[in-house]
Symmetry: C2
Subunit: 313 residues, 2 copies
């Protein structure tokens, strides 16, 4: 007996009405409940998508070619598959689902935003007050960023918090995209002391296009969409006993602030760069405080089953 149902069944409906259930039923008894749930739902959505849109073999193959091409382009310097998800808003959505922290109310931790494909592990450890800028002197608006990392519930400073920061150069490229920049330029890690304070020099970032020489670019072009992100700085905050925070802050005056190609902007993460007097090393000041939640407190704000940030801890 074939799996695909009888001729009578197939003729009674536009497409074989038993096929999707047959594929779902192939799952064996030893699959975990979560794996079973995620794949059953995936099969249902994939098949519904194909039927609702009467997806042809050629169209499916074209999509498949893009996915394979994205995988081939991906390595430790570039994650094209992630970029594909990002232009469809999927990373922002799973970030919202996982953390489910209701943005910017006073008594809540710092909101999260997507990791993006340009984070690198092992960014250099820096001394407090150092600059993360190297090899591009004289370019960009120099900025003095500083603030305090506090416990969102008690308001007390968090000691030993590691702030991992990265942003693009004035040419719109991250260092791993740009052979002209020194290794690990515009990246650094800073560890807070007892006062929870941090400070460092960086640049005021600029808007930039996400890489559009691969499948993501092809899709943006087909969708008549621009590839730009508003100016932003990326952070991962980790501290002993605290839930890691993956976030970005956005320059209020940046172009594309209401039109991010990867849909990551949240109102609570929009900041103001202020003209800075009296420091020969910086034209702008950026004060910003981070609020972290202990794992225990974070649980009250997260959905059931939320797990740690992949690769960030």
């Amino acid at each position: 007996m074939a799996q695909n149902g009888t001729i009578e069944d197939a003729k009674a409906h536009k497409f074989n009405p038993h096929f999707t259930q047959a594929v779902i039923n192939a799952t064996g008894p030893k699959a975990t409940p979560r794996v079973r749930q995620l794949t059953t739902s995936l099969i249902q959505h994939l098949h519904d998508y194909a039927r609702e849109n009467e997806l042809t073999v050629d169209e499916w193959m074209a999509g498949l070619d893009l996915l394979n091409e994205a995988g081939r382009m991906s390595d430790d310097r570039r994650n094209e598959g992630q970029l594909l998800c990002d232009i469809f808003g999927l990373e922002t959505l799973v970030d919202e689902i996982t953390y489910k922290l209701a943005s910017d109310a006073q008594d809540e931790p710092t909101a999260t935003a997507i990791l993006g494909p340009f984070w690198r592990k092992d960014a250099p450890q820096k001394a407090m007050g150092d600059t993360i800028v190297s090899g591009i002197e004289g370019k960009g608006d120099r900025t003095y960023m500083h603030g305090t990392v506090t416990d969102f519930r008690t308001g007390k400073p968090v000691e030993g918090a590691v702030l991992d920061v990265w942003h693009t150069a004035p040419n719109g490229l991250y260092e791993q995209q740009d052979p002209g920049q020194p290794e690990m330029n515009l990246r650094g890690r800073f560890t807070t002391g007892k006062d929870g304070k941090y400070r460092f020099y960086c640049l005021r970032p600029v808007p930039y296009p996400i890489p559009y020489d691969g499948p993501a670019g092809k899709i943006l072009q087909a969708l008549d969409r621009h590839p730009y992100r508003p100016a932003h700085i990326h952070f991962i905050l980790t501290a002993p006993g605290y839930k890691p925070i993956v976030t970005q802050i956005f320059d209020r005056n940046s172009k594309y602030i209401g039109d991010d190609a990867v849909f990551a902007v949240k109102e609570s993460l929009i900041v103001d760069f202020k003209p800075f007097e009296g420091d020969p090393n910086a034209e702008f000041e950026l004060p910003y405080d981070f609020k972290m939640a202990t794992f225990e407190d974070a649980k009250k704000h997260s959905v059931a089953g939320a797990t740690e940030v992949s690769g960030a801890v």
Copy 2:
């Protein structure tokens, strides 16, 4: 104004109720109607999938890693992305949608089945009556396959039909998977003359596992599913003025005939290998006729917008 809606909106629903529409709305006016339809539906299904299952960042990342890995493994000898689709039944479904030919009624063309990831272009041109077996003498059940290619409507023979055939070796491997086999072993192309008849020697195929050393294998394992396909022979038929047919025929007595790992079996494609007397070159006989439809006739049986088989013509 950020894209992600206000705090009030977010609190009124479990997740931001405006987010999916914001992503869909980013599509520009120059996108074609079909691209707009396919991506709007894709965004809606992706987001619904994430929300319905409360997909976490870790789970999304795990899926993404599998997709990138599949792309990296794919080249002209292996298409792991296609294999991923196949184990979820997607290729069989788009095949059904594209061709929508109601299987085995007498007055209809030969049913289609998935191309699978092992077809190679430029299989050797053979003379009618040749064998496609080389370098593995003495292994496998030798089979004499023959039949006629006819026009499904008129019943007349089709001249100049090219039958492109491929199947696995007795060890369950296609030649491009197996350094021990001669290049293009168990592949060949045969062109019919005026009588529309074809004949060649091959082997009676065996069930085999799809490759499970990559992402598809990991998923099958997590789903507690076996990786086996029932014994089958692949064909692509092309002929001037006729719609190409991509299909497979399946051995009725094969294990897994009701339980194909990629869900490709259709009743009308199940065949009987018969013991063959009087030919020292074959232990089995396999008579099989193919019925092709002209492009004009095929239109009446296909969904609107169905296109040619990608890469097969």
